[in-house]
Symmetry: C2
Subunit: 104 residues, 2 copies
């Protein structure tokens, strides 16, 4: 099988960027897991599996970047914490500097 060393430029996959994207999306609006997965699907064309999205959310929560609140029994709404906002600010700065010029 072909190995795409350095990342497959065709796919432009999320490796390493999922946490960042989640923080960014939650900064615009608090959401529950499925909402988040759907929003990501809309953007990148592929819906992350439960085994992808929930461990990511768990990590971000354990790192203190997001908080969770149960809503109406079934869904759990995630929100950015102050620490999360700070982390996002830093990550955003790096992201913008790294990919400067890619956006029109």
């Amino acid at each position: 099988m072909r190995r795409f060393v350095g990342g497959n430029p065709y796919c432009c996959d999320m490796r390493g960027m999922l946490g960042f994207l989640i923080l960014f999306l939650l900064s615009k609006k608090s959401m529950h897991g499925q909402e988040l997965a759907d929003e990501i699907a809309k953007r990148k064309g592929e819906k992350p599996s439960p085994g992808t999205i929930y461990p990511a959310l768990k990590s971000l929560r354990e790192m203190g970047f997001i908080s969770s609140e149960e809503k109406e029994g079934k869904t759990i709404v995630y929100s950015l914490t102050e620490r999360g906002k700070n982390a996002l600010r830093i990550a955003k700065r790096r992201f913008i500097r790294t990919f400067l010029g890619v956006f029109p």
Copy 2:
């Protein structure tokens, strides 16, 4: 050791994005490996090791996305091929749609 499932949002690391970034940088200017590594270092703050940059270049060359030309014995200048330009166009579109709103 802590596992950052979903990608460490603090680092905003390159996992999966290096090939994309290389294509983008070469689309602005043909460069040799070290030039490329220095440009990446300037952007993301960390210079990729030889074990990172050269295998990535080799992959991109094998995929027909870049061509290489020896210059003055020592350096090898890499340029985007037509296929590479196409790949970049597609990847850029995905990238922009995925991270829409992150750039100011």
